[in-house]
């Protein structure tokens, strides 16, 4: 069987009989009644709903990170303290700079 020809024949069959455009009785009124029932989409309400939904995962993340940082801080030795390391890094340049007397005057 020639499948290409069969395909063309069936597509021609679908073209030959277009679907009906008949609208059920009083359909417009049904739609209008439906539209009056459903409230218009409020952007602020959608935003607040989305933010409330996002709040729970954010709180969970915050708690997890808080617990993790507390755990890390309690197990870390004083030499590896982040604030100390930060101080050392910032002041490293000052510490290594040679003390040259100012003779410009």
């Amino acid at each position: 069987m020639n499948l290409g020809q069969l395909q063309q024949k069936l597509i021609a069959a679908a073209r030959a009989i277009p679907p009906s455009e008949q609208v059920p009785y009083a359909f417009e009124q049904r739609i209008l009644a439906r539209l009056r029932d459903c409230p218009a989409a409020d952007t602020w309400e959608l935003w607040s709903r989305a933010l409330w939904r996002a709040a729970a995962p954010c709180v969970a993340c915050m708690l997890l990170l808080g617990a993790w940082s507390y755990y890390v801080a309690s197990t870390r030795s004083p030499q590896t303290d982040l604030s100390q390391q930060f101080d050392n890094t910032v002041l490293a340049a000052t510490d290594q700079e040679p003390q040259v007397p100012d003779t410009s005057w």
Binding site: L3, Q7, K9, L10, A13, A14, E21, F27, I31
Partner: protein
């Protein structure tokens, strides 16, 4: 004198919901005609059309008025039909039951004399519906728009929101998919 579409839309946006009714009355036949290409049951067709009009009402503010309202509405209709096909994707496996006697006879007559088999026969129409029901949602949409409704690739891209290249790729795949479905039918019939 009847108000124009633009006037009706402006009035609806100002809060006069009744001004939307003439638009629903005017364009519902076209929306029904399109929806009937993708759904068979009357209840499903009505659900699709209802969803189209509710979306149209809610998104009316996004209609810029640079193109006719009908074009904007048809784009919404095609996208809603596509969503419907995707939502009912699982049902398509069930659509592939055994061929009826009429469909079998029509296939038989086609196999014997392809030129003389009628394309207006009910059996041919039932068979193409069966084949379309078996296709994946993008393939069905493309075959319907490109082959049955005879639309251009550019038009389809505009209606679906896909790029021209994507439409071409999907059209190629859809034709291959349709041929596979037909091969399966032929195999079941003759083996």
């Amino acid at each position: 004198m009847e108000p124009t579409d633009a006037e009706l839309i402006t009035a609806t946006l100002r809060g006069q919901a009744d001004s939307f009714e003439p638009l629903v009355r005017k364009y519902s036949p076209r929306v029904f005609g399109t929806a009937r290409r993708y759904a068979r049951r009357q209840s499903e067709v009505e659900d699709i059309v209802q969803e189209v009009w509710i979306k149209a009402y809610q998104k009316l503010h996004s209609f810029r008025g640079t193109a006719p309202f009908e074009h904007w509405l048809m784009r919404l209709t095609v996208r809603t039909c596509y969503d419907f096909l995707r939502a009912h994707q699982r049902n398509r496996e069930m659509a592939f039951s055994e061929l009826s006697n009429e469909e079998g006879d029509w296939l038989e007559s086609f196999a014997q004399a392809p030129e003389s088999s009628s394309e207006t026969a009910d059996a041919a129409r039932l068979l193409i519906e069966r084949v379309l029901a078996r296709l994946s949602p993008p393939a069905r949409l493309i075959i319907t728009l490109l082959e049955i409704e005879d639309r251009s690739v550019k038009e389809i891209a505009h209606l679906t929101g896909w790029s021209v290249t994507l439409v071409k790729v999907r059209a190629f795949r859809a034709r291959a998919e349709m041929r596979r479905v037909l091969a399966k039918i032929a195999k079941e019939k003759y083996l």
